[in-house]
Each structure stands twice: as structure tokens, then as C-alpha cells.
């Protein structure tokens, strides 16, 4: 087991644009918005940045390919800018690269920034994108809602859950996120919803209705990282440090063998196990104060609680109905509204999750501030349940 990155790297500053249908903003504007806030928070000038990692998913719309869109939009001082793309987990990958560069000593200060400009595509939901020349010849012209909805059919069968009960439990997932998002001025969706609204919404992909699906948004988020001693030398106190950064990627076992039962995300369990080990966490449900998970769909959040070990096998339905993950529950989840309500500008989402953990750990989360959180976990999933990239990151107060 490698010694890991626990407490080797600290967050120097973060920024996040307002998410939503940003008809007023270009991708460059969104980048500037997140970058300005992060730089002001860090209290550094551009010359102090040693390297940048840039996450954006869709290169055929929005920003374009390579590292130049970020370098040019932010007029960076000719430092290396590397584009990172790993489906919806790209933001977490950009963080990982920046953190590793700092931990290695190759950089003193590095920035990771993610951006996505989806609302110029004309699509409601994610745009259609190309997947090579072979896959389209046999693979269904599938969309994300139906790929994730399949978790529900398999989960229901495995745990023998009454479909109506499961539908109510996933409704609770969204009701909770809407309640949280309403308190977040940067969130895409800021209105509370009722159970009746959620249950009666039009079906997008059986059994998921409109409110079971995350918003598709424009937005950007940025994080500046450095070594703790440098942060302290720059006058920072109460540091938030990285405890674990783990990524697990499918190898075809779920998709092509007959062993996976379709009711959970295999890579999430592996990434979580490794992240807990790296962070030295032995009892996640007791030690993790709060989470931001990849709630692209309500059912994803539900099974993720079991994958992360925060719910027992088959117990997530009951836990959600009991409010375990509500803002005033045992382990609050999506305190900022999550993908569901903060929004999901793909390349930025992993960094947006970290942004909320950072604000909460620094006591800067305003009306949604939790009481004395110590450890925060982000779970960022790209692809689909049967074939994906899963990132689990853990941050916390220095020394905790």
C-alpha cells in the first residue's frame, strides 16, 4: 500500500461560478468568474502559479480541445496547462493531477479548473456525443437517464423492494437536495419541491421522472493547492488538507461478465475502500461528517450510500426515508444542492463538490453551514453504472 497523500497538500483557495442557464456568459466568462474568486481567496498573483490542469468534457461544444482555452481565457503566464477528460469525473481528475504535482514537489502552487458550457448546444439534457466507430455499431443509442435507471430495476429485484417504496425513497433524495439548494445562491435550481410534485413528474426513463434527474448547467469551479507549509507562510490558518484521492475505472467485468448484478457501482466500492485506507478511516459512517456525491440521478445517490459504506446493504431505502442524509441528519449529503440543484456542468462538477466541503470545513457556508464538520467526502462518477470512472476524495481539517 502506498503511503498516500494524507495531509501533504492543502487548499489555498477556491472559487465557483454561479451555475445555471448562463445565457449571459461564455465559457471564458465562467472560467474568469471561478478563477477570480479562487485567486482572491488564495491571495496570490498569477506569477505564483506553477502549473494548471483543465477539466472539460465535451470538446465539440463549449471550450474546444487542449489546454489553450484555459491558458488564453485567464491569460496565464505561459505555464503548463493540461486538459483532463474523464467523463463526469474530469473535475476530480484535474484536482488529483494538481495535488500529485504539488505533493511530488514538482510544483509549489498548482491550479485545477473545470468548466462546461452546455446550454449553447440547444439540447435539454446532455448532448449526443460520438463514441468511436465500433461501439455505435452494436451498442444502443443510449442516454444517461436510462443507463442509470437500470440500477433501479436491478436493485429492486435484488433487495425485493416494492417499486412504489423505491420510488418514494428516490423522491426523498431529490426533495432533500432541493431543500438544500434553496439555501445556495450559486445553485441552478433554488426552489423546494414536494413529494407529490416529484412523484407525479413526467417519466424520463422508467422509473425516473423529471425530478429524479440532475440539472444540466453551465458553470466553472477552481481550486488552488499547495503544500501546508507554503499555505502557512502565506498567512493561511485552519487549513483544509487532502486525506485521500482515489480513482477506480471499470475493466469490463461489470459490462461483459455475468457476475455483477447491476444493482450497485462496483468501482465506487473499490475507490471508497482505497480512499478510506489512504485517509486512515476505519468506520466511515461514524467518521465522515458530510458528503457530496454524484447524484446525476436520484437512484445513483441511493445506491452510492451503500457503495460508500454509509448505509448497510439494502438499507439505503430506509435510511433516506428516515432522513439520515438530510441537512439535519446523521451524515448530511448534497448540502449545496448537489448535481440535482447546484447543477452539473460536467467538467466542473468534481471541483464544485470540493468547493462545498472546503466552505463547510472553514465554517464559511452561510445559512447552510453544518455544525463543526471534520471530514468531508466527495464521490464523482463518470460514465454509467456498468462502465465508468469513479473518484472518491476525502478532505478534512489539517491533522484530523
Amino acid at each position: 500500500m502506498p503511503i498516500g497523500i494524507k495531509d501533504k497538500v492543502a487548499i489555498l483557495g477556491m472559487g465557483c461560478s454561479k451555475f445555471g442557464e448562463r445565457w449571459d456568459a461564455s465559457p471564458e466568462d465562467l472560467m474568469v468568474e471561478a478563477y477570480n474568486e479562487a485567486m482572491a481567496d488564495a491571495g496570490i498573483s498569477p506569477e505564483q502559479l506553477d502549473a494548471a490542469w483543465f477539466s472539460t468534457h465535451m470538446d465539440d461544444v463549449g471550450t474546444g480541445r487542449g489546454g489553450t482555452p484555459m491558458g488564453i481565457a485567464l491569460r496565464l503566464p505561459n505555464i503548463g496547462v493540461t486538459r483532463v477528460e474523464n467523463f463526469c469525473a474530469g473535475g476530480s481528475e484535474a484536482i488529483r493531477a494538481a495535488v500529485y504535482a504539488v505533493a511530488a514537489g514538482a510544483c509549489d502552487i498548482a491550479i485545477a479548473l473545470g468548466v462546461e458550457k452546455l446550454k449553447d448546444t440547444g439540447y435539454g439534457g446532455l448532448p449526443v456525443s460520438a463514441v468511436g466507430t465500433y461501439i455505435p455499431q452494436w451498442y444502443p443509442n443510449a442516454v444517461a437517464p436510462a443507463n442509470f435507471a437500470q440500477l433501479a430495476s436491478a436493485y429492486q429485484r435484488k433487495h425485493n423492494v416494492d417499486p412504489a417504496l423505491l420510488k418514494r425513497a428516490i423522491a426523498r433524495v431529490s426533495i432533500k437536495s432541493h431543500a438544500n439548494g434553496a439555501k445556495n445562491p450559486k445553485a441552478h435550481f433554488r426552489q423546494a419541491v414536494t413529494e407529490e410534485q416529484v412523484l407525479k413528474a413526467p417519466i424520463i426513463a422508467e422509473p425516473l421522472g423529471l425530478y429524479d434527474c440532475a440539472g444540466v448547467s453551465d458553470g466553472a469551479a477552481a481550486v488552488i493547492v499547495t503544500r501546508p507549509e507554503i499555505a502557512r507562510s502565506l498567512g493561511k490558518r485552519d487549513l483544509v488538507t487532502f486525506k485521500a484521492l482515489q480513482v477506480a475505472v471499470s475493466n469490463g467485468w461489470e459490462m461483459h461478465s455475468n457476475e455483477w448484478d447491476g444493482s450497485y457501482v462496483h468501482t465506487a466500492r473499490i475507490a471508497a475502500r482505497k480512499a478510506y485506507a489512504e485517509a486512515g478511516i476505519t468506520n466511515p459512517a461514524a467518521e465522515v461528517s458530510m458528503t457530496e456525491v454524484h447524484d446525476c440521478f436520484s437512484i445513483t445517490e441511493l445506491v452510492t450510500m451503500e457503495d460508500l459504506g454509509l448505509s448497510g446493504e439494502g438499507e439505503a431505502v430506509r435510511d433516506f426515508l428516515d432522513g439520515k442524509f438530510d441537512a439535519d441528519g446523521a451524515i448530511p449529503c448534497q448540502i449545496d444542492g448537489g448535481l440535482k440543484c447546484f447543477g452539473h456542468p460536467i467538467g466542473a462538477s468534481g471541483i464544485r463538490m470540493l468547493y462545498e466541503m472546503y466552505l463547510q470545513l472553514q465554517g464559511r457556508a452561510g445559512p447552510r453551514q453544518l455544525k463543526d464538520p471534520k471530514i468531508g467526502l466527495t464521490h464523482n462518477l463518470g460514465g454509467q453504472p456498468s462502465q465508468n470512472v469513479c473518484s472518491v476524495s476525502i478532505v478534512g481539517r489539517e491533522g484530523v
Partner: protein
């Protein structure tokens, strides 16, 4: 041993368009169809002459996937999707026939199917092996035309060989006469028809009896001893008139399937034959005649071996599987005669990389997976490295056919977001008997037909239509096995 029929199969699409629904939709314009009853078969949007041919051939060849005995394939149709590209080649790949098979596209007249049968008899007699003759049609008709109501979609297949013959070929006759009852120029989509009375009296009434008499004479069989008379026609009582003119008993006239299926064109004589053979008794004589470009007739005698042969599903099975369709606009839309709004997701480019398609043709067209010889695990698509956790083996996979294996749905969903010609778009993970898993589309399903655990079988279908370049690509889809018992009205 001389050549004869050794097997038969058929295919009738699941949807049956209600003629009343068509008549009512068009009543303002064509009130003359108000009294039309029954249904006609209607291909799903993802079916064409190639996919139906594959289905009929599978019905004939049965569940086994060892098909090395087939030495030639004749694909007969007036509606083959490709004018340039061997359509029979697609069928051969889908059936995973050996590369050494001779394959040929034929067509041009409804009588081409019987020509192919006669040709196949000659081929088998000359060179041995078994021949597969498949006839199939998916014809476009003008809205509010009588053909729209009379025609149907379907396919039929025969194997011709010299061992275990179930119907001996006693003789046949061909008359080639350029009698143009209907025509369609190259590049056109819809047939043009001449007056019915002229076709009846001057065409069928005069040319038909000559071909039939000649065939009976060559076969050495009296007209009166014909037990099953097969003559496809859309003209009311034309079969009876022809039988009477030829001295064939009225009770020998075979059911035209007009009430349920309609007249399917090139395959129709063989489709009727497939229905007749399901109940024919040893020693009975069958006369098939077909009008078009002149006339064709062949005479068969059923042997005791008939009792040992059953098609996989058969005409009766396909008929039982039918679901009445009352949405006339669905029919028009499936035939691209009504352009429905598709939304932005319908703009997606469906370009096919032909080099990729060729490299993976066994997987795509034949649904051939790779089975690891060490662990027995089945991989689709086949790969050099197996997925076995912790011990990835290399280059251990051997071809493993999945098309004739059943599967079970692991997980599924039905969504209304993507562009799909028959929404909701349903797909899910299917686990195959004997191993293998594919995330695949479901077809011939209504909402509620699929659940986790549903048993499915494979169907060769259109995957995508590239309208920009005019190219159709094919793959396999899953359809519930239980749909065979569903005879209720369409829930779609």
C-alpha cells in the same frame, strides 16, 4: 437420391395493421375501403427484407447453429435494401454460414421465388449439399391505395437437399411472357398497376393454366389429385377460378392468408407453402403456381419424413404472436411516408465506418462472442484479453455463437429522451444462457413487456439508418420469448 424440399420456415412480423383503422383514417378521401376487414402484417421500423429473410431462414434451420451443410443461398425479393452490395451476403453473415457458401440476390418478379426453387433443385442434383432459398418482401404502397390494404410484409425459406426429403419435387414449368400487370422502374419506390379485369382475363386466366398444365404433365400428376393448390393473388376468388379452369378440386385451394397477413409479394407462394406443409400428410400432392413475368408452376409430393420436421415457430406460431396495430400513422411513419418530428437528438450522424464493420463482422452481423477456453467465460465483443478478475488471460477466446441462445434481462429501462422510431426506447443488460452479457436494445415490445428476469431471444434487426449517406446497418436485438402468446390489442 434426387433433390427435394428438406425444410421450410417463415416469418410474419408481429404487428398486424387493422384495415378498419386504415379505412377510417382515409375515409374522407377513399370511402370505397370502408368495408375492409381483417389485418395485414406490418414490419416494425427496424425490419426490412434482409432482417425478415434472416428470421425466416432461422425458422427453417432451427435452433442449432451448425449450418455447414448449407452450400448455397438464394435471396429472392423485389425490395432488397441494397441495389449494390450483396444482400445475401448480409444474410449469410447473420446466419454464420461458412465462407465457401455461394450467395446470390434474385428478384424482378413475384415468380422469381419459384424460379429460385427450381434452380436450387438443379444445383443440388448437380453438385450436392443443401441449398437455402429465402424469399422476402417489404413493399411500399401509396397511402389510400388498395395495395396498402392488400399487401403484407413477410418472408419464407426452404432448404433443398437430397437427404430426408419432406416434399419431393416432381416437376415444374416456366412460361416467360412479358405481360405487364404492374411495374416499378429502377429507383422508384411504388408499383404501378394496370386494370384488374385485363389482368384476370387476359393474363392469369390464359397464361396460368398453360404453366399449370405443363407442370402437371412433367410431374405425371392428374389435376384432380392435387391436394393443396397454392396460388397467391390479391384478386378475389382468382385462385378458385384458376383451379376450376385447370380441373383442380375447390377444396384443394390453400388459404391465401389474406385475412391476417395480406399478400406478401415474392415470398407469398413459399409462405403459403410453409403454412400448407405444417398440416400436409404423406402422399399428398401440392401444386404451387405464381403469376408474374409469365407464370411458374411446380408440383410436389409430401413424404413420410414430413412428420419429423417442425419449423422453429412456423406460420401458425407467427400468426399466434400477432398484435393488432390500430395506429395508421405508425404504419406510415415506419415506412418513412410520414416524417414525424424527431427533435435535436434525431440529428445525430449515424455514419458507419465500413472498415470497422468489416473487421468486426462476425460480432456485429453474426453475434459471435469470444469464449475463453480456460475459464469458459464468454465475452462480447470478443477481446484479446479476458476480464477474469485478477488473472487476465490473453488470446484464449474462441468464437462462440450467441444468436440462437436465449437470455434473461438483468436490468432495463424505457426512456423517452433519445430519438427512437417506436418510443419508448427500451434497452437493458441481457445475460445469455451459457454465459455472455450484452447491453442491448429490445424490439417488438410494448411498454411493460420487459422486466428484470424476462426471458428473451435474439432477433436480427436494423440498428441505425444513416439518411445522410443512404446506408442501413444491422445488429441483434432482444425480444421477449413470451410475446409469442400475446394476442391482445396493441398497447403501444
Amino acid at each position: 437420391m434426387t433433390a427435394g424440399i428438406t425444410g421450410y420456415g417463415s416469418y410474419i412480423p408481429r404487428l398486424r395493421l387493422s384495415r378498419q383503422a386504415v379505412a377510417q383514417a382515409n375515409a374522407w378521401y377513399a370511402p370505397q375501403f370502408a368495408g375492409r376487414k381483417g389485418t395485414r402484417s406490418m414490419a416494425n421500423w427496424d425490419e426490412d427484407s434482409i432482417t425478415m429473410a434472416v428470421a425466416a431462414a432461422r425458422d427453417c434451420l432451427g435452433a442449432g447453429d451448425e449450418r455447414g451443410h448449407i452450400r448455397s443461398v438464394q435471396l429472392v425479393s423485389s425490395t432488397l435494401p441494397f441495389a449494390e452490395r450483396l444482400n445475401a451476403g448480409v444474410v449469410c453473415e447473420a446466419l454464420t454460414l461458412e465462407e465457401g457458401v455461394e450467395a446470390l440476390d434474385m428478384g424482378g418478379s413475384p415468380s422469381a421465388a419459384l424460379s429460385a426453387v427450381i434452380g436450387a433443385m438443379d444445383r443440388v442434383n448437380a453438385r450436392g449439399g443443401d441449398a437455402l432459398v429465402i424469399a422476402t418482401d417489404h413493399r411500399k404502397t401509396r397511402a389510400a391505395s388498395s395495395q396498402e390494404l392488400d399487401y403484407g410484409d413477410g418472408a419464407a425459406a426452404l432448404t433443398i437437399g437430397s437427404g430426408n426429403v419432406i416434399a419431393e419435387y416432381l416437376g415444374g414449368a416456366t412460361l416467360t411472357v412479358d405481360f405487364v400487370d404492374h411495374f416499378r422502374m429502377a429507383g422508384e419506390e411504388i408499383d404501378y398497376h394496370w386494370e384488374e379485369r385485363w389482368v384476370r382475363d387476359e393474363g392469369i386466366g390464359k397464361i396460368g393454366p398453360r404453366a399449370i398444365a405443363s407442370a402437371l404433365q412433367k410431374a405425371g400428376v392428374e389435376a384432380g389429385s392435387i391436394d393443396h393448390f397454392i396460388f397467391p393473388t390479391t384478386f378475389a376468388k382468382m385462385d378458385a377460378q384458376l383451379a376450376k379452369a385447370c380441373g383442380i378440386r375447390a377444396e384443394a385451394i390453400a388459404d391465401s392468408l389474406a385475412a391476417t397477413v395480406g399478400e406478401t409479394g415474392t415470398p407469398h407462394a413459399l409462405l403459403m407453402l410453409a403454412a400448407v406443409l405444417e398440416r400436409a400428410q404423406p402422399g399428398q400432392h401440392i401444386l404451387l403456381a405464381q403469376f408474374g413475368g409469365g407464370a411458374q408452376a411446380i408440383v410436389l409430393r409430401v413424404t413420410p419424413a414430413i412428420q419429423a420436421f417442425r419449423p422453429a415457430r412456423g406460420v401458425s406460431g407467427w400468426l399466434a404472436r400477432g398484435v393488432e396495430e390500430k395506429n395508421y400513422t405508425k404504419f406510415l411513419s415506419f415506412r418513412e411516408q410520414l416524417r414525424l418530428e424527431r427533435g435535436m437528438r434525431g440529428e445525430q450522424d449515424r455514419k458507419t465506418a465500413l472498415s470497422t464493420a468489416y473487421r468486426h463482422r462476425a460480432a456485429i452481423l453474426g453475434l459471435v462472442a469470444g469464449r475463453c477456453e480456460v475459464t469458459g467465460a464468454v465475452h462480447f465483443p470478443p477481446s484479446r484479453i479476458s476480464y477474469d478478475q485478477g488473472k487476465p488471460l490473453q488470446d484464449t477466446q474462441k468464437p462462440h455463437k450467441l444468436a440462437e441462445r436465449r437470455g434473461q434481462v438483468l436490468s432495463w429501462s424505457a426512456e423517452s429522451l433519445s430519438f427512437h422510431r417506436a418510443p419508448p426506447h427500451q434497452y437493458g443488460q441481457v445475460d445469455f444462457e451459457g454465459g455472455g452479457r450484452i447491453l442491448m436494445e429490445f424490439t417488438d415490445v410494448a411498454k411493460g413487456d420487459v422486466a428484470s428476469g424476462t426471458e428473451v431471444e435474439m432477433s436480427f434487426r436494423i440498428k441505425d439508418i444513416d439518411e445522410l449517406r443512404g446506408f442501413t446497418r444491422y445488429f441483434w436485438k432482444a425480444t421477449p420469448v413470451a410475446s409469442g402468446a400475446d394476442t391482445t390489442a396493441s398497447k403501444e
